[in-house]
Amino acid sequence: MTLLFSGLFLIGLGALAAWLLEGRSRASGALFQVLAVAGCALGGGAAVRVLLGTPAVQIRYHAQVLGGDWVWGLDALSAAFALAVFVVGAAAAVFGVAYLAAETRHRRVGASHAFVGLLIVAMALVVTARAAIPFLIAWEAMALSAYFLVVFDDTQAGVRRAGLIYLVATHTGTLALLALFALWGGRSGSFEFDRMMAADLSGALPSVLFGLALVGFGVKAGFVPLHFWLPEAHPAAPTHVSALMSGLMIKTGVYGLLRVITMLPGAVAPWWGWTLLLLGLASGVLGVLWAMVQHDLKRLLAYHSIENIGIILMGVGLGTLGMAYGRPPLAVLGFSAAVLHSVNHALFKSLLFFGAGAVARATGTREIERLGGLARRMPVTWIAFLIGSAAIVGLPPLNGFVGEWLLYNGLFSSALSPAATPVRFAVWGAAGLALIGALALACFAKVGGVVFLGHPRSPHGREAREVGPGFLAPMIALAILCVVMGLFPYAAVGLAWPAGALVAGLSPGSAAQIGFHAILGLRALWLFTLAIPAVAVLLWVLRALLLRRRAVARGPTWACGYAATTPRMQYTGSSFVAPLVAAYRGVVGLEVRRAPGSFTTEPIDRVLEHVLLPAWRAVLDVSARVRTLQHGRLNLYLVYMLVTLLALLVWLYAAGTGAGIRP
């Protein structure tokens, strides 16, 4: 813990430096980078130590406020998420300084860095808190620093709107958590997680608690239909912030769900699992479908976060089902798949956002349809982005594949459970996951192909040049991590397995046997993942040999007899996904505007535009009607008093017949 907290202290110090030295010294940004990276290294070290089997530790502080001691602890579950926080956090800190260096309009760059530091610290504290009060404090600090980062560009009305939507969403979630802890703590007589775990919860109470947690953490995690804030806020924020939010912050919602399940071991009910599984499936499919039709690169990535949260949620659901139906192997598989995919997604999603940010900085636009041919001008960014894309689609030999493979294992083996256990029906998830994967492939083929390949579609792309090392270093680092975790599945699974076992309520000893099955295959899987690049390299060499001393010419692309292609003849992103959109017309939520001589499509968020905003307008109408009661007429105000008095007197007579009244 000391290691962890000294790390957090360093990050905080960096934030403070960035805040105070802003403008005064050119080096403030660099100082922040150094301190943040150092702090993240320390914190990550602490997490790794726990993951390597150092027994979990706790520290407590006797706070003079309601609700007992404040406790922080670092167990396998916390460590897995904390590790992701520190890795991505460091990358984002480095990237952010480079990214905002170009900001001249704002003098609040230092403040933004400070909030980044605060956000990292807060997230680390969220995943390590072991009592309600410190948890909620860290939770709010996280949410608020994220808000202030989102509204960095607050001179734009759109950004302010996005910020407000996000803040409202997160605050509503926090209220649900407030209810959760109030109900739970009130029953257990303490806000310490350990004591809450010990509380005897009978009847429907655990399900109520789970429901509250599902809403409270769900808003943060952003699965359908609680995702509405996510595609608004993430694109509005500066890129490294989007990476932090999309990559890490939404995972704290997943962490919260897992933690709550960990704290309700005996009481897990099947409907929790089915709900989670279905929600996961829905977010997965809808998320990727909605992502496909986006024109804004960052918005597209944001929708993919919804998709991946869906995949993670499927894991959580499967694990919960495993617990509910008493199948520990399933539980461990599901939960560890969820944890592993959370970590993976943190890596490649932030990598992709960095790529998007680099593109935006280099070209000045995030409009997919206006880009193209960047592969030549920004080769490193392109390779990094390509690796990220392959990883998020879940292709071997990258880390995304390992996580999904684990989840598939769980889903398939659910079907292998003895007959007449309902958990077998979870296997349908496998087909859904396959669909999600294939659609994601289509979507990222579109992004990679349209943005980076072919010809530039607008001046934006033509004079773009590769971004600087401050941008590239984090991207390269994350890309390398994606590859390494993919090539060494042992490490990847080993990272998540203890956490999965912990959530499933297993002692580490038994965890080793459980899901042994999946572990066993790992060496072969490792062989396989190594085989892919090996074979590819061999073939590349072969090809090189064949082409040696052969005529290798360059000519115009064969355009089927037509004149040479012009950039305007290229397929656009919209046309690329047109067949899929046609197939899923009903759900994608694409507003088509046809005008003589123009044809535009406008992606809209079904939930936000068709459900929430109308509902809010209804509230406004009601309030507008009620407002007439405050009309300024004194007589009627006095009538209100009279009416109140009479109503209460009626109550008096109604209650007056009760006992204890002498005639």
Partner: protein, 306 residues
């Protein structure tokens, strides 16, 4: 092990025959002489000896695509129990790996097509992605049925298991699911290997193509790699089909291998027959076909989960 290696070698060797067989079958049924069965070998040989031409727009992505496609197909081959017993590499959930490694190849191919900057290749790429997004769920549903029937998460178990038709200990109840799975897998095969009614490799109008138009710009060794990869992919899906229909775990290795090759020939002829008797579906109808296939598999899942 040795038998696995041997059968792998054989499959890789005979794979190029299959397209020839298909073409020949079609030719016969349509009363033409048609190209020789071994045509592809000579094509490959010639292409490998040629140089190559690259579009001005293209980058290394374009050149990388064929390599990755072939590599992924070869790696996928490592996961199939071609000898009917066990694959060279097998692990729990390798069925998933099989599908996803092929997906990696698809991604490379699609990106390679986009790299040309021509709308024709891009069009093919988009269609390829679309078709795949419908084929994958069908494939996985089929795998689920196999997994439940054979109580195994590994292709080696699913295809090499003893719990398949004709072997002792086989439950007759499983016949129906197996049949459904076989049909589904066959349709998936047609889709994955770009065959009528999903795609028509023999059409001469780029606008109607899917796979062919994607590789339109490739030449020389690159094209050779792609053609060979296509043939092997056909062989792989064929051998899955054979593995489902003809259990060979208990047979002698040489017999199992013979059965496999025979089975592949049958599959090829079958494809040829279908290509000559049915017309290519309109692109908008292709999803319906694949959804139908998925539905069959889903029916199988319901049967086995019941």
């Amino acid at each position: 092990m040795s038998s696995a290696l041997a059968s792998l070698a054989v499959v890789l060797l005979v794979a190029p025959v299959l397209p020839g067989l298909i073409a020949r079958t079609k030719a016969i049924l349509t009363g033409r002489r048609g190209q020789p069965v071994l045509q592809l070998y000579s094509d490959l040989g010639r292409l490998l000896r040629k140089g190559a031409v690259y579009g001005t727009a293209t980058t290394w992505m374009f050149a990388l695509a064929p390599v990755v496609v072939l590599a992924t197909v070869l790696c996928a081959a490592l996961l199939l129990p071609l000898d009917g017993r066990a694959a060279l590499i097998r692990f729990s959930g390798d069925a998933v790996a099989f599908a996803y490694v092929l997906a990696l190849g698809r991604m490379a191919l699609v990106l390679g097509a986009m790299d040309t900057g021509s709308s024709f290749e891009a069009m093919g790429a988009s269609r390829e992605a679309t078709v795949a997004s419908f084929a994958e769920p069908a494939l996985f549903l089929a795998l689920v049925v196999l997994a439940v029937l054979t109580q195994s998460l590994s292709l080696s178990g699913m295809l090499g298991s003893r719990l398949v038709p004709g072997v002792e200990g086989f439950r007759m109840a499983a016949a129906a699911p197996f049949a459904l799975v076989a049909v589904t897998l066959f349709i998936v095969l047609l889709a994955e290997t770009a065959r009528v009614p999903v795609d028509d490799p023999a059409t001469h109008l780029e606008l109607t193509m899917i796979h062919e138009v994607m590789i339109l710009d490739h030449s020389g060794p690159d094209l050779a790699f792609l053609l060979y990869a296509g043939a092997v992919k056909l062989a792989l899906f064929g051998s899955i089909l054979v593995g489902v229909v003809v259990p060979r775990a208990s047979l002698a290795p040489w017999l199992a291998l013979g059965l496999l090759v025979g089975g592949l020939v049958v599959v090829a002829v079958l494809i040829g027959v279908i290509e000559s008797v049915t017309a290519r579906l309109r692109l908008t109808r292709v999803p319906q076909l694949l959804v139908a296939a998925a539905t069959l598999a889903a029916l199988g899942v319901i049967l086995v989960l019941r």
